[in-house]
């Protein structure tokens, strides 16, 4: 198991380097111009000077080497400096966003908490709703509950958040006036009242996102339970005279959880990736919104850094899922 983990970790290093190169080339070879959003009133010569100031005139391999150096060497130093008060990174040029002319990682750090709160919460809520629905739907296969559950999850699957988002805003913010339509990113939780306000502003985005998660995970849960409910060991357990609760919730559920846990683990990097559309609709200042804004503005250093972070998380959680698989299911051994 340990050798497996180490081997996988070592393989992931060239994988990640290759991914970063591919991202870099894709971004640079695609037609784009960071000056596209500058108004037409700014003459082209001035735009050309602005591009030079951003370092765009340099050859591609120098730009890539610079990014690698900044991301893998200088940024960790900044982190060390931040925690230990050292001064390794002083004077070094960090990965600078073209839009804000400030370090990309500072903005990422500033935005991660909102993303984890909103998207992470929706994931937790989604799982908490999905698991019981999945279990009961499978147990009462083809019942009214199962049919209704299937119907609702299909809706959740098929309706995208750019529809549900404005829909819940129109219902709950405009018509009923119960909840805010925009997320106040300056709000600080200091006491009970402000906590309630925080909950209120999180309700709508969490609701929209949780619908998606619920739909996905409850379908997996249901399918996996159905596979197991007809197994011989279930009949044996019932024949032994175990209570129905013990049979379903202990024997069947534990076995059914194996694929579901993998699905949940593989979905985790998506939390860090934020929810591009939902964050944009509710103006949550998360990572997803940062990414889409950077793409619109052709802010390549930001797009490159963020996509690489996502790539890293996906590789990392794939590894975690593989290891978890081995732990949960003794039949699977990698050695």
């Amino acid at each position: 198991m340990l050798t497996f983990t180490i081997r996988r970790l070592l393989i992931s290093i060239p994988t990640l380097l290759f991914i970063s190169l591919v991202i870099f080339l894709l971004l640079n070879l695609a037609p784009n111009d960071p000056m596209a959003q500058v108004p037409l009133t700014v003459p082209p010569e001035v735009k050309e000077k602005m591009r030079e100031a951003l370092g765009l005139g340099q050859p591609l391999y120098i730009q890539f080497a610079k990014w690698l150096m900044q991301f893998f060497w200088i940024e960790p130093q900044v982190l060390v400096d931040h925690y230990f008060g050292t001064t390794f990174s002083e004077g070094d040029l960090r990965v600078i966003s073209w839009q804000t002319r400030s370090p990309v990682m500072d903005i990422v750090i500033q935005r991660i908490p909102q993303t984890l709160w909103v998207v992470g919460m929706s994931y937790v809520v989604g799982i908490l709703i999905a698991l019981p629905i999945g279990i009961y739907s499978a147990y009462r296969h083809y019942s009214v509950f199962d049919q209704a559950g299937t119907f609702i999850t299909m809706i959740g699957y098929s309706i995208p958040p750019f529809f549900t988002g404005p829909l819940v805003i129109v219902i709950f913010a405009v018509q009923l006036g119960w909840l805010p339509s925009t997320y106040d990113t300056l709000h600080q939780v200091i006491d009970w009242d402000s906590f309630v306000v925080q909950l209120q502003q999180m309700v709508l985005p969490v609701m929209v996102l949780a619908l998606q998660t619920t739909a996905q995970i409850s379908r997996y849960m249901r399918a996996s339970m159905l596979d197991n409910l007809n197994q011989d060991y279930v009949r044996t357990a019932r024949a032994k005279g175990l209570s129905e609760w013990t049979v379903v919730m202990v024997h069947v559920l534990r076995n059914s959880m194996i694929p579901v846990v993998t699905v949940i683990a593989l979905g985790l990097p998506a939390i860090f990736g934020g929810a591009i559309i939902t964050e944009q609709i509710f103006k949550v200042n998360g990572i997803g919104q940062q990414l889409i804004g950077a793409i619109y503005a052709n802010d390549l250093p930001t797009v490159q850094t963020l996509t690489f972070i996502f790539a890293f998380l996906i590789v990392f959680f794939n590894l975690i899922a593989d290891i978890l698989y081995g732990l949960l299911d003794p039949r699977i051994r990698y050695d």
Partner: protein
């Protein structure tokens, strides 16, 4: 009382009796939403409107344009002119005098050295300053005394109000930005995110591309302003959500630039919490005719350059017929409603430059057909006109945008009626307006026959805007496809007028030249076919008073005068 008369009264009161209202900070918080989020509060490092307007709350220029386009002194004692001796007789220098007793928000005095420094900061060769064009022709900026600064130009400048006028070129503090010159500019994150200014507000927190929190400037020059103690500037989302947040849910007090269909805005207004306001500037949505051949069969050095004239658009009758077939009032009704006016002018404002020409406003399909028949473009079997084997088949491109695609569909239909075949194409705005010389899809490269977009000029002087159409200023391979003469228009007579305008200071002669020049581009040659004079629609909460929409400068130009209506 009707809201409108209440507003008018409030505006008038604001203009004539500024001190009669509440004291500073008595009206609590005001919240503004821009659907494009500010990335930086330094307009010299970003040309973006969102950045210029948000920073205008904090840093101010010497003079601004008001809602009529007239100049008003801000940090300057008065606007220098030849009459008051501020501008030299030979038009080669302008001398500005600062108001006495001005202080920065940190309490230190504003001096002429700060003004000189601002010019040096932007004119630094490695800085990549977005407003460099404003300092065009400036040879030196000299401090005369603590409050007086003299800007000298390399040649007579009939319009010497480029530097330090308007939201694009505010004065920044020397003490703060001294170490941020040139290549060091990007390292100055704190400075760029929180400039020290003279404006009514100071930044307390800046979150890039998200939100800015501000509070009233204790050292603001008018002791009774601003009425608001704090200001929240939220960015992001889309125009629809911003309009909704002001007019339907009432979460925000002011929403900027609501580019929405007229019926959508009318529906939002029924929400009853806010009012849309509109104003007109010189932003014109137009069709640009390609005078050169964009055929893909040509080699890269010839395609869409002046070496190859366009096979049929070089015939003025074709261009004229294309313009005659368009029903501009209908386009306005569908796309812009009260925020648009049909126009035949390239420069519809200020009034002195506008020709007021109206002969394009009535659609004339029959006339267009007759004109083409007369010019020898005969209809073929498929209904498409042709002459000498050249078919009137047009590739018509624009950026991706709901209103523009509606326009494309309508115009295609009208052109079909006069026997012109049209293929439509739309491109992502960041590609279309990006100047990537490697991309075949930029508006500069113009690998199409006709393209549509909108353009405008800063402030009120169209000299540079009209000078763009000089021979040789067209995008071409030798200039890496950079250049502003998008149509590849070339007329020596026109170039002479550009030169004359650059020498002329008499405003009436300038107006005359401006009218003649834009006529040459529009109704005399149909090189540019103006469609819509696009206004600006913003919205404010019914409880927010003092708002005066300004299309010539930052929309937040008079935020110090805003107040809460109880």
């Amino acid at each position: 009382m009707k809201i409108k008369s209440l507003m008018m009264g409030a505006v008038a009161a604001c203009a004539f009796a500024p001190a009669s209202f509440a004291e500073r900070g008595s009206d609590g918080n005001v919240s503004i939403i821009y659907w494009q989020a500010p990335s930086i509060l330094n307009p010299y490092l970003s040309g973006g409107t969102k950045d210029i307007e948000s920073s205008s709350l904090v840093i101010e220029p010497l003079g601004r344009f008001d809602q009529t386009g007239a100049m008003v002194a801000y940090l300057a004692e008065e606007i220098p002119t030849v009459a008051n001796g501020g501008v030299s007789e030979d038009l080669t220098s302008i001398t500005w005098t600062l108001k006495s007793g001005l202080v920065w928000s940190d309490g230190s005095a504003v001096t002429a050295a700060d003004v000189k420094f601002t010019a040096e900061y932007c004119m630094h060769p490695e800085g990549g300053c977005a407003q460099l064009a404003k300092f065009d022709g400036v040879t030196s900026v000299d401090v005369v005394d603590d409050l007086t600064v003299k800007v000298s130009f390399n040649q007579p400048k009939p319009n010497p109000y480029g530097p330090f006028v308007g939201g694009q070129t505010p004065i920044i503090q020397k003490a703060q930005f001294e170490n941020c010159m040139g290549a060091a500019a990007p390292n100055c994150t704190d400075e760029n995110f929180g400039p020290i200014g003279t404006g009514p507000f100071v930044v307390t927190e800046f979150r890039p591309n998200d939100v800015i929190q501000m509070e009233a400037n204790d050292n603001y020059r008018d002791a009774s302003k601003p009425a608001f103690a704090t200001l929240t500037f939220k960015g992001g989302g889309d125009a629809m959500a911003a309009g909704r947040a002001v007019m339907e849910t009432g979460e925000f007090d002011y929403a900027w630039n609501l580019q929405l269909a007229p019926d959508v805005i009318a529906k939002m207004k029924e929400g009853g919490k806010g009012t849309p306001i509109s104003g007109f500037g010189a932003l014109v949505e137009r069709l640009e005719m390609n005078m050169t051949d964009p055929s893909p069969d040509l080699d890269a050095d010839t395609r869409a350059t002046r070496k190859a004239p366009h096979p049929f658009l070089s015939d003025i009758n074709v261009r004229k017929a294309l313009s005659m077939a368009i029903d501009r009032p209908l386009l306005v009704e569908i796309g812009y409603g009260p925020a648009g006016r049909p126009t035949c002018d390239l420069v519809p404002a200020p009034a002195i430059y506008a020709t007021g020409n109206t002969d394009c406003l009535t659609q004339d399909i029959a006339g267009a057909n007759a004109l083409l028949d007369e010019a020898g473009w005969a209809r073929g079997g498929d209904g498409i006109r042709a002459k000498d084997g050249v078919r009137l088949s047009i590739l018509y491109q624009t950026s991706t945008n709901a209103v523009r695609q509606d326009f494309q569909a309508l115009i295609k239909e009208w052109w079909g009626q006069i026997g012109v075949e049209t293929e439509l194409r739309n491109l992502n705005a960041s590609v279309f307006f990006g100047g990537d010389p490697g991309s075949p899809d930029t508006f500069q490269k113009f690998y199409a026959d006709v393209e549509m977009y909108a353009n405008v000029f800063d402030g009120t002087d169209p000299q540079a805007y009209l000078a763009a159409y000089r021979c040789g200023n067209e995008p071409k391979p030798e200039s890496q496809w950079q250049g502003e003469n998008i149509n590849r228009f070339c007329d020596p007579e026109y170039d002479k007028m550009i030169d004359e305008m650059a020498r002329t200071s008499d405003i009436n002669r300038r107006g005359e030249l401006g009218r003649m020049m834009q006529s040459m581009l529009t109704n005399q040659s149909y090189t540019i076919v103006p469609l819509v004079d696009r206004g600006r629609i913003s919205a404010h909460a019914n409880s927010l008073g003092g708002v005066v929409l300004n299309t010539f400068d930052s929309e937040l130009w008079n935020v110090a005068d805003w107040y809460r209506i109880d």
